[in-house]
Amino acid sequence: MENIVKKYQQRFRKVKEEMVKWEELQSCLVSQFVNASSIIQRLQIIQDCKNYGVLRCIEGIQVAVLAKQMDSLDSILLSMSKTMEDFQAVVSTIEKIVHDSAQLSKGGSAHLTSKQMQQRVGLKPSVVDCLDGLNLIADMHRSEYKLKETVVSTLAELALKPSACGDLVSLQRLLVDQPNISMDEVQNLLEIIFAEEIC
């Protein structure tokens, strides 16, 4: 029994590592988003030759500036989709850990009764605590990944109609907030799983 719980704690450590990766990707994605949205907000202004002042004396300047900005926007959108791939890899790794953990309690010689599954020894978590916790974390990240996917594809659509600057602000809010991931809940969960280490 105790051994199984130890194995679960091991899995949680791995999941924690993945969550650290997730945070790094998150700050990367946010800064990419900010850069892309500042270009999108400029697009309308730089498309209007009225706004070129004295630069109007240079033939083709407006086309050239716009082309440069579209180029940068393209490459930012490309790096965002690369970041999304990395997010997906984190989600798959977490899901794989959860899947393997579910096998731990079912498979092999250690077939546990439901009473054993719920048993807590001292400060140690029960097997059910561990399984539910891992599932919860996986669910949060899976849903958050889906949300991010929508945000990123909406951003690409907005690039084509830059009149909707207000939408950019709310999209950014959504991206930064990560509404599907409750850090409080995760924190509480980890306190239960690693209760003995905290004491």
């Binding site: 706004n51 070129y52 004396c57 050239a64 500036v65 440069k68």
Partner: protein, 298 residues
Amino acid sequence: MVPSMDPSHSPLQPSPSPSASPSSTSTNIRIWKPAAQRNLRNQWSKLANLRHKWTASSSSGRSHATSLVNSFLSQRYMDGMELGVLSDMPDIKKKACLKLSKQQANHQNKFLSAYKDMVAVVVQMISVSKSMRCYNKVSASSPLAQFSSSTENENDNGDGGGTPVFKFWSIASFEEMAEEIIQMFTSELTLKRLLVMALVSAGDKKVPQLSELNWSDEFYSGEFSDLGACELLLSSEPIFPSLSGGKTNTDVMQHVYQINREVLQVYLTTWFVEVNIDRYRVDEIFAIVGEEMHVILA
């Protein structure tokens, strides 16, 4: 992309210089090559450094320009600003404007000095591009072969008779590559000059500390001699910016433009996108030149 495949411009082609130069006998070339290789590596690593210096000055110019624009806009919109509890203070808006215009003058100076740095970078780039050749030094007293950066013999082109210096390229091919880079930076420099003029002159004409610039003014003392070194002067006036293949309508430059938030934003955007500099191509040139010379130019 590979350097131009047009056979007449191919870097593989030896330069058409006469083979009668004293450095072209096989012994001489064997001695000349190491010196020429050392020189090319030095010049190209200088060029790579200068490129980074340009980037640094350009981005500091950008941040000073942004501050300049912000203090200008704050002054302009001061009248409409709601100052709440502060509005009871006597002359508060006047004092704030005075302070802002002092700040603006300060940003102007820093902005101009960033521009000055960028001119200096281009001047050095051009001098580097003119120092790629390696000449025999005529010295009767010493039995050792010596080399110099300037010619002492009119038959000596400093290019080893057009022989490949490393694997394939002659000196002329290295010069061609440097020329392509310098072309981009000089064009961008004239565009930056126009932006400096426009942004510096955006200030309130009534404030005495603030300068106003015209195209034919020297933006700092000695600017014209620097621009002359960059071949950017035409009958002692700076040449106008233009995009490759495009024209410049200088009549338009005489107009008085309304300066508003949008125009200033376009100026700042044009400053940092550097339309004349194809970053990918510059990276590529440094990569292929570095490969030819067995060094990494970063």
